[in-house]
Symmetry: C2
Subunit: 338 residues, 2 copies
């Protein structure tokens, strides 16, 4: 009735626990005959070694934590699938943790992961603090951080940086080439590091393309559809109204698109809109959304690979720096003017 243990197997096969352990792990030669006896006993009893007991010795749990802002943000699902793809192949299981953009909750989640002795944590929440990473690293837990920076981070964790510059620069150049001069940006909440980064790169891209960044209209949004709608309302009261918008994510871009259409504009003729993320929906709405694409699934895979590398290297693992590029995807939500 109780769990079958290695001892039960040993008894049944008439050998010692040691021998059973060795046939299980192929960690020393065992006579074929005894090996068969052991295997038979294992099957008859339906024995499965306890990972918990193993972990106590090996200091490895074959688990990792994945800290994200909020699963219902469509940026994450593909990333998660990428992480899982790599993890599954190595028999790793993933604890999913939503910070809900709350730093305090994030820290608690990290502590809980520490208590569970995960082998590593993937920090992918846009609400980040150095404290979270420290909490992990102090407890010998490896860390990979996505799209966030801090002076003291480099010695603690491997990092994946998203090169927004490539994609945003292409996007802005495209708009300029098709005649736009008044290009607004709808940013994410500016207390988020990644929102700052995107905004600054946008401004830099304006300059590079011969526009005056100091005149640029920046509207702060909430990264959701509703934020895009509200941003459009502000936008539509400007005079002159910008003829193009680059949003910090696709959801807000869709919000703009839909609000504009509801307001009677003819899209993309009256307003060009560019998103960022390339979520599934972007290609499926009409007009389909031009956007700056992130290789989300690849980011997930890469992050998990980095983590597994660190884990296999042990304590003094080298911290890697990876950069992933973004690319502009031209669809139907932009149009030449003038």
């Amino acid at each position: 009735m109780n769990r079958v243990t290695i001892k039960d197997v040993a008894n049944r096969a008439g050998v010692s626990k040691t021998t059973v352990s060795h046939v299980l792990n192929k960690t020393r030669p065992v006579q074929e005959e005894t090996r068969q006896k052991v295997i038979k006993a294992i099957e008859e009893l339906g024995y499965r070694p306890s990972q918990v007991a193993r972990s106590l010795i090996s200091k490895r749990t074959k688990t990792a934590g994945l800290l994200i802002s909020d699963v219902s943000n469509p940026f994450y699902p593909d990333v998660i699938l990428g992480v899982e793809e790599i993890a599954f192949a190595e028999d790793y299981s993933i604890f999913l943790c939503n910070t809900n953009y709350d730093l305090e909750r994030g820290l608690k989640l990290v502590q809980s992961l520490v208590d569970k002795s995960v082998d590593g944590i993937l920090f992918m929440s846009s609400s980040m603090s150095l404290e979270m990473v420290q909490e992990a690293v102090e407890n010998q837990i490896h860390a990979v951080v996505l799209d966030w920076e801090d002076n003291n981070l480099e010695e603690l964790a491997s990092t994946i940086t998203i090169n927004f510059e490539s994609g945003i620069q292409q996007a802005v150049r495209h708009l300029v080439e098709i005649g736009h001069k008044q290009i607004a940006h709808i940013s994410g909440p500016l207390n988020l590091w990644t929102a700052q980064v995107r905004k600054n790169i946008f401004l830099k891209a304006l300059e590079r393309n011969g526009l005056d960044a100091s005149q640029a209209v920046i509207i702060e949004g909430d990264l959701r559809i509703e934020g895009g709608r509200k941003a459009f309302e502000q936008l539509s009261q400007l005079n002159p109204r910008p003829t193009a918008v680059v949003a910090a994510n696709d959801l807000m871009a869709l919000g703009v698109l839909w609000a504009a259409r509801n307001a009677g504009l003819d899209l993309p003729r009256d307003l060009s809109v560019i998103g960022l993320d390339d979520i599934d929906l972007a290609s499926k709405v009409s007009p389909s959304l031009s956007t700056v694409a992130l290789p989300r699934r690849e980011i997930g895979k890469q992050a998990m690979r980095l983590l597994l590398d660190m884990i296999s290297q042990g304590k003094q693992a080298t911290k890697s720096r990876v950069m992933v590029d973004t690319t502009f995807v031209l669809r139907q939500s932009t149009q030449r003017i003038g």
Copy 2:
């Protein structure tokens, strides 16, 4: 440099491991003075008890597995948040596992969870097999199953049944009341149990509202936007073309909506569309989507509560049956005809 253990704390405080353990767990009275010494030592060393070691004794890991089809299906994120809300409060962590609608992969994931000694598994994948549940239960792991049935399931697991009947019946009645007589259904893949259920309930609802179910048009889709588009193409070639569509989920409903608009139809005048799930997007597109709403977050919470109940009851926990209702949400994608 190494992990701080209970022994280190004991040494530092000049007491025995036993005493440290007892102040930690408040499991027997300890003199205030020694208690303070222990607490001081714990803080100075930054000691955190190892859940792994505890689990070896308690047979509890404070972890649970959540088996879903695919995180990128917008049905799941809210459910996950509900599960996590309850889990977090009890210091439980959740392993997220995507079956990718693959039974074999599902079974492997369950086995991996068994090896990790999770305290329970929430089965929410639409690709299910009794074997998965058996694998869990045979290894003393509690199971909660969502929206799936099998003759032998009841004695193994607690179940949550979604009462599609209430919502779908309301939806069909609404359509009939506003004059529709030709109502088609776009189902999910009919090898999925839940797709069968929804289809049958739809047919029953037709009968109840005085329509001839045997004449009903049923098109099998893939539960994704693309499936909705393809379904519309088939639909548009029928003569007479149905004037209303009830889709098995919102994504397909949106696919129909958008494909119809691209084909030049004026919605909702030329075609009434009803979805199922009430995903976030449903209320945000225009025309906004009338749909049969599921209390997704509530389902997640309820499921996790059922699981925690079973866990606290131990081996012979009673298996509960919970049913959640669905409700029709009227928005703008339906219109009176004739």
